[in-house]
Symmetry: none
Subunit: 206 residues, 4 copies
DNA sequence: CATGAATGAGGCTTCATTCAT
DNA sequence: GATGAATGAAGCCTCATTCAT
């Protein structure tokens, strides 16, 4: 009997191979055969580890979410200083990860698409809702900290800003995906300057 | 001989039928047969008007972009008042269109997905780049106006803020898609308050 | 739109082609592709008329049952004379159909097998139960007639004899299937002589 | 070195496990893996004892035939009394074995099916021909005995009656298989009464 | 000897597209 | 022009069999 860890290793190998192929071909155009080749295994072996193409796809999705969250956690745990600084640093960190993500970003779009129309849409939607919720939570906490320390204005609508900010980062990467000349880091910097100013400065009039 | 307009009408009919089906099934799961039924015509007739499923899909995309732009144009041309007011009004207008768009939003995701991996990806990417660019332009102009009228701070990075803002709106709708309880209008309001404050208020230092 | 009768004709064409192939290869070894070739149509066309291989197989079964019943009906309606004569004539008629059936008899075995273990077993079992029941009914009626006319002994267990007789004919054909030298007509004659004697003669003692 | 009997034991174990699975799933739907589980051994081990799935199936067939013959032999050797009584007792014995056979009867149908269309059809057909022949022989002998002792009428066509009788028993079990409410023992009794009467009574006219 | 992970040939089924009517 | 019956390329998945451990 193969050791459990060995089985897990192979599973991981397949997931990463599948991620690559799904990223470059999209779900529909991806052939199980191509994933097998990418993973250096036989076609049938895929089915020893996953029930179906869709099962494999969803597993790649979960793996991707986990990996992204892990990356974000690292960024956040490394943060220090004022709330403004930490917000700025988080933004920079996320935008900097763009270079690494670029090849994989099309995966995100496949996931979105799957959440919209695949047979597994409910699973995907749920996972996305959860993921966005978690991320909003992190940003909310940062902003609330800033308010409690008197750094940000107290009347700020924390939840709305957090939701929008999370979305902004997402969308900047999306624009970078569409436009090679678009630099998400620069855009985020210019934007965060204004936003942090908006969080910090006393409103002229209410 | 059928008049040109008659032919155009039928074409439009097919496009709208196709949009509905693509929206509910996604590109891959949509059957040409189902589009024909939705349009109330024969399967073969589709091919009198479109070369292929992909051709039809891209045509739906162009139709969708045009319709969305038209809606945005209406919103903008109706704007008046200070730059802040106009920015706020644009935001509200976009978020309000959510109710109408909801059923069609999955189409947007299908388009993203197509831009990532379909055989027509270049066409899609180009159109998206263009679309985002056009929209950024509109917002840029609004902000520049605000600066020139002394309403917004002169050191604001116009392009970056415009790009981010466009993305934020997009992403708020995306979150609303994933989460029925998420109200994009509310979130946009809370966020725009802070952002406009950031555009307006003099930075403390720097 | 193709006329209904034309559609029915093609359906019948496919059923007969499928019957041939199922008969020579068995269900499991039959390829849909081979049926298509036998029918002189494209593989995909099969699925315009039948949902699946199993659906087609069951349809062949129903067709076969109907055809067999029709043949039996003809035999019976042509009968006249004493009950003994009619019973004998029915037996001869059934055994004589052997020559025609020979090529198709393996189909019967496939049907039995399907009733035992295929996913459609319930459907098959039910149809067989029904078929045997109908046939028993016919034979019962013949025997009852004989008794009522004082030709057969009154204490005869009608149902049991009918059931057994139906089975005997079936089994003689089965033995003919296994053994080319076995002549079911001859065997049936020798047997029917004894049986009719048993129905007719007064039992020596109880 | 494992003793020969040890190897034989395991072989027998596998055969019985396979018989169970073939009986409930049929040949085509049976997975070698399931047989291995039923036998409590590894999948690969099956191939230490049998060359292929078909080889195993045929071996099960041979085992089944041998077991059935053994049972019949026991029944017959226990017989005594008049030819009529012995015939009746044989019939009862066979029908009584129905209760034990019920679970395995689907195997018989699988064997029939295999004789019709499997790649091993010749082997199966031959074995069936042989089996039916052997059984006919036994019944022939009984009837001939009856004639020689003046119990049965001399003009009886021994071979035909024997063949038909063997078939009748077979077919009664078949009907019982299709119809849970059908009692083969009862039917056989009613039928044998008539048949024995037919064998015994002087024909009215020739 | 025993095992079960790995394999890939093979088949059912789907569905965009064609074309005769 | 309009239709839908016919098509066959293409792909997911199954599972008997192999072979390294």
């Amino acid at each position: 009997m193969i050791s459990l860890s060995r089985k897990q290793e192979k599973r991981a190998l397949i997931i990463e191979a599948a991620a690559k192929v799904f990223a470059r071909r999209g779900f529909a155009s991806t052939l199980m055969a191509e994933i097998a080749i990418e993973a250096g295994i036989g076609k049938g072996t895929l089915y020893e580890y996953f029930d179906s193409k869709e099962d494999l796809f969803f597993t790649v999705f979960e793996w991707f979410v986990k990996a992204t969250e892990a990356k974000a956690q690292v960024s956040i745990s490394a943060l220090g200083g004022s709330a403004s600084d930490r917000l700025q640093a988080l933004s920079d960190s996320l935008m900097n990860s763009w270079a690494d993500m670029k090849d994989m970003y099309s995966l995100v779009m496949e996931f979105w698409s799957a959440s919209a129309s695949s047979q597994m849409r409910q699973q995907f939607k749920k996972a996305f809702r959860q993921g966005y919720g978690d991320f909003r939570q992190i940003v909310s906490t940062l902003i609330r900290d800033g308010i409690e320390h008197g750094e940000f204005q107290p009347q700020v609508d924390i939840e709305s800003v957090a939701a929008a900010l999370v979305g902004t980062w997402d969308a900047l990467l999306l624009q970078a995906w569409f436009d090679d000349d678009f630099n998400p880091l620069t855009a985020a910097r210019g934007f965060m300057t204004v936003l942090i100013n908006g969080l910090t400065a006393k409103p002229r009039k209410l």
